[in-house]
């Protein structure tokens, strides 16, 4: 084993329901300073509930121990490298958490009069401007709550623009390398999905492309760099072809961290783009959210952006609800404000040089890993890599070891797995994205671990197939979980 991980004692802990005891509590309210009311009298007896059966009853110290013990069963970016391709698990600066915890921001109510929340609005306006500059787009809405929500907003914008021109059209083209959210989004926006095949270089086939853009096509959803980590070199040409046929170019900005400060989607002809602030702009994933998925557009799409929009009136920020062409709201209030604060804090801390340096290091790291692992793992696509590289398990599969097994074995070496079996166009994919946050030492340890596993796959495939061996929980039976779903705790009878 390499020098990253050793096992240590981990506390066991039952579920909260199993350690509850009647009468215990972890929180005390101040005395009521008004007369108590009889709930049954003011609400009607039928509207008042009986006690909440099974609800936890724990003291404060038990609450603290419970969740602290649980936390030690998690891997996290604070512990080490998280090479999840496409997910961009980069360092989450703690100062951003402090910024989002500023009391005057945290306790602002979304319906306070605008003149009493100028600080919040200033933060949002600055972030809109910064994201427009970074992407080369004209206008930004911060309302969408996550990447897929930004996608939905973006496709609704395209639909609204085309409808205003007389025909929303029927189809969205999506490359076979795309994230699953892209086709799911198109379907929710009322479009048919036409999957288009990547060429042998893992890119859109520019020769075949024009014939795919029929009168029915509303837009192409492209991810750039794509999920192979390859820059779509023909992006500007693709945009021209679409525009010449009255269609639009949507870019999934999930991989924007490979481009910041180097090239701007807006300059390549992209019409609509969403960003994932929890990827490129360092806000924490929190175990799967909250994220934030701002949508950025060119001028002609601006009238359709979700409402309300920020506008400045006599030097003060105001919400403009008078947006007759808007697609409407995509959520209540204005966006995941706390996430926006963190993203702006990150952009301010980095500045133009820091943002570009982060991109450079992310691409450097991915190319370094690729170079060092190429002798040991099959690299199906040889195009230059941007921020991530994709291997396949072809060589290891000969010994019965698949990408999931290698991923699980990586856990024993102290690393979180890479992204497994995605993109779908690479059978048995190992998708590795180191991000800029890894030191040379951490990268070398990762490479060492991957090489060791490649050797194990040949010499002792069973060891890899049954991994992980050192975790508190061994390999989990996901098949039974799906076949006989147990989705909540119930008391034993």
């Amino acid at each position: 084993m390499t020098g990253k991980a050793r096992s240590h004692i981990v506390q066991d802990e039952p579920l909260v329901f199993e350690i509850s005891a009647p009468g215990k509590r972890g929180c005390q309210l101040p005395p009521l300073d008004v007369p108590a009311v009889d709930a049954a009298e003011v609400l009607g007896a039928a509207n008042v509930r009986r006690e909440i059966e099974g609800f936890p009853e724990l003291s404060e110290v038990e609450v603290v121990r419970h969740f602290t013990r649980l936390s030690t069963w998690n891997y996290a970016i604070d512990l080490g490298m998280y090479p999840l391709g496409s997910c961009t698990m980069k360092y989450n600066p703690r100062a951003n958490e402090a910024a989002a915890s500023v009391e005057g921001l945290l306790w602002a109510h979304p319906y306070q009069p605008e003149e009493t929340v100028q600080g919040c609005l200033e933060i949002m306006a600055r972030l809109e401007r910064a994201l427009a500059e970074i992407t080369g787009m004209d206008a930004v809405s911060l309302q969408p709550a996550a990447g897929a929500h930004g996608e939905l907003s973006g496709i609704l914008l395209i639909r609204a623009l085309l409808a205003s021109r007389g025909n929303p059209r029927r189809k969205i083209l999506i490359p076979d390398s795309a994230h699953g959210t892209n086709p799911a989004t198109a379907a929710i926006a009322g479009y048919e999905v036409e999957n288009i095949r990547s060429n042998e270089r893992g890119m859109i086939d520019i020769e075949a492309f024009p014939s795919l853009v029929t009168e029915d096509v509303a837009a192409l959803m492209i991810t750039n760099p794509n999920t192979l980590g390859v820059f779509e070199v023909n992006i500007a040409r693709i945009a021209e072809i679409l525009h010449s046929k009255g269609a639009l170019l949507y870019m999934d900005g999930a991989n924007m961290n490979a481009l910041v400060g180097i090239t701007r989607p807006g300059d390549a002809g992209v019409d609509v783009l969403h960003l994932n602030l929890h990827k490129t702009f360092s806000t924490p994933h929190g175990g799967g959210g909250p994220g934030s998925g701002p949508v950025a557009v060119k001028k002609e799409l601006e009238p359709f952006l979700p409402k309300p929009r920020l506008k400045q009136v006599n030097g003060q920020w105001r919400w403009d609800y008078d947006r007759p062409q808007s697609i409407g709201r995509v959520r209540a209030f204005y966006g995941n404000f706390g996430v926006l604060v963190r993203a702006l804090a990150y952009i301010m801390a980095c500045g133009p040089e820091g943002l570009r340096a982060a991109t450079v290091d992310a691409v450097l790291n991915s190319n370094y890993v690729r170079k060092k692992l190429e002798p040991y793992y099959d690299l199906p696509h040889k195009e230059p890599s941007m921020h991530e590289c994709v291997f396949s398990d072809r060589r290891q599969a000969r010994h019965g070891v698949r990408t999931m097994d290698i991923a699980k074995r990586l856990i024993d070496y102290g690393f979180h797995p890479y992204t497994v079996a995605f993109p779908l166009i690479v059978p048995g994919a190992l998708m590795i994205e180191p991000t800029e946050s890894e030191s040379l030492r951490e990268l070398d340890l990762f490479i060492e671990a991957m090489i060791a596993i490649a050797r194990e796959a040949e010499e002792n495939p069973e060891l890899v197939r049954t991994a992980p061996h050192t975790t508190r929980t061994s390999r989990v039976d996901e098949v039974t979980a799906a076949r006989k779903p147990i989705l909540r705790w119930r008391p034993e009878r």
């Binding site: 003011v42 404060e60 998690n74 100062a95 500023v102 990447g147 070199v233 959210g289 301010m348 909540r488």
Partner: protein, 442 residues
């Protein structure tokens, strides 16, 4: 750059390993005409100290820290210190979605507890691992009802949060879903059951009711469920004030419950991040959007948890998925789990009872617009002067008043919605009551 862990010598060493002279060569595949060729026009990078100074200055530009009577989907509740302490542990904060179950048992266990507590509170059989917020949860619940019933249209109560209804319209717009609004009774402030029933037909997928509704009024959910079921439609119970679940009886006949958990997790935070949730009956679980955590075992036979029933989701089913949702609000759901555990069975009820008592204390001193039973929000008629004038007078007394309703309900332009939580002191309510007195706003 303090976030980047490499020295220049190390960078050179890595470039050498790659056989490259400079980092620019890493981007050689990008056509030159697409390269930016100038620094981004942003302010230079700043120290941590400077960034935080800026944010604190923004915080000071806001008026907060005052008694505030706003609710309407975002509530001021006391949040035990342990919620932040525990949820901000790096192992929770900086983890990814728990696809790798063996090293994600901490969050998976907490989410399983979350799903269980939501079921206990709502009386449902299953709950998902969270949605973006209450408004999108409600919209997704409507799409879910459509898949379950195979019917096209929905009826939504006009007493549902206006912004939730706007989101529903956005989601429904391109799916050919017709939305009809059931009026509220101008006396009670609750949905008019007969009027709602008359809008239901054999192509109605669901009747959507918020309770307590936007006016704070508790809706007759049982009667409305009967009306929905009589027409073969589902009843969706939406809620925006989770604390009400501590005291109000869950609707046993509801088919889907969709709500907002901000009250359990975070301060109002200028509108987000919050967390929505959808709970439903066991028989509808395959149509539920969003992630689900299930119990299973590991190879050693120990109890373990993992994400499950993924065949509903976009990364497996792509355009045939139940929803496009991927990232949800896991950390906020974790905060809600810690909050619910800390308050516990008795504490949550007491919290709800304090809200009820305080709201009724103030309501008893003001001219109420509606007669229906209410929880911690109520609509007040502003008889002597318009709502905006009252709010200005309150602002002058360092109190943030209620929400003038004319913006959402033109017929209620002489009314405001007030919310009273456990955070409001009696003295402040007395000051509000004074302002409502004839001449009190002067």
């Amino acid at each position: 750059m303090r976030f980047l862990p490499k020295s220049d010598a190390e960078r050179r060493q890595m470039l050498e390993a790659l056989g490259l002279e400079s980092v620019e060569e890493l981007f050689a595949q990008i056509p030159p005409e697409l390269r930016l060729g100038r620094p981004l026009a942003l302010e230079p990078g700043r120290s941590e100290f400077e960034v935080l100074e800026f944010m604190r200055a923004c915080g000071r530009q806001n008026k907060t820290g005052l008694p505030c009577f706003l609710g309407a989907g975002a509530y001021y509740h006391y949040r035990p210190v342990v919620v932040e302490t525990l949820a901000s542990r790096g192992e929770f904060l900086t983890a990814y979605t728990p696809y790798q179950a063996e090293i994600s048992q901490g969050l998976l266990t907490a989410i399983f507890e979350f799903q269980t507590m939501i079921c206990q509170l709502t009386g449902m059989d299953v709950a998902n691992a969270s949605m973006y917020d209450g408004s999108t949860a409600m919209a997704e619940a409507a799409l879910m009802a459509r898949r379950i019933t195979g019917r096209e249209h929905v009826v939504v109560a006009a007493s549902v949060h206006p912004e939730y209804r706007e989101v529903l319209r956005t989601y429904a717009h391109n799916q050919a879903i017709r939305i009809r609004e059931a009026p509220y009774d101008p006396e009670s402030g609750a949905v008019n059951v007969r009027a709602a029933a008359s809008l239901l037909d054999d192509n109605t997928a669901a009747l959507i009711i918020q309770s307590p509704n936007f006016f704070g009024v508790v809706e007759p959910l049982g009667e409305l469920a009967e009306a929905a079921h009589a027409a073969g439609a589902l009843l969706i119970h939406a809620f925006s004030e989770a604390v009400s679940l501590g005291l109000l009886a869950p609707c046993e006949q509801a088919d889907i419950v969709a709500g907002e958990l901000q009250s359990f997790a975070l301060p109002p935070s200028y509108g987000g991040p919050y967390a929505g949730v959808i709970a439903t009956r066991e028989k509808f679980v395959r149509q539920l959007p969003g992630r689900l955590v299930g119990q299973t075992t590991d190879t050693r036979g120990n109890r373990a948890f993992c994400l499950t029933l993924a065949t509903r989701e976009q990364h497996i089913r792509r355009e045939k998925a139940t929803s496009n949702i991927c990232t949800n609000q896991a950390l906020v759901a974790l905060m809600a789990t810690i909050f619910m555990t800390a308050y516990g069975k008795q504490g949550l009820r007491e919290l709800a009872e304090q809200n009820l008592a305080k709201a009724h204390y103030l309501a008893a001193r003001l001219p109420l617009r509606f007669r229906g039973p209410f929880f911690n929000e109520f609509v007040v008629r502003c008889e002597a002067q318009p709502p905006e004038a009252i709010n200005r007078a309150l602002a002058g007394r360092n109190i943030i008043g209620g929400l003038p309703l004319g913006r959402f309900y033109p017929e209620l332009s002489d009314c405001m919605l007030l919310c009273v939580t456990e955070m409001i002191r009696r003295e402040d309510m007395d000051r509000v009551a004074e302002v409502f007195q004839p001449g009190g706003a002067a």
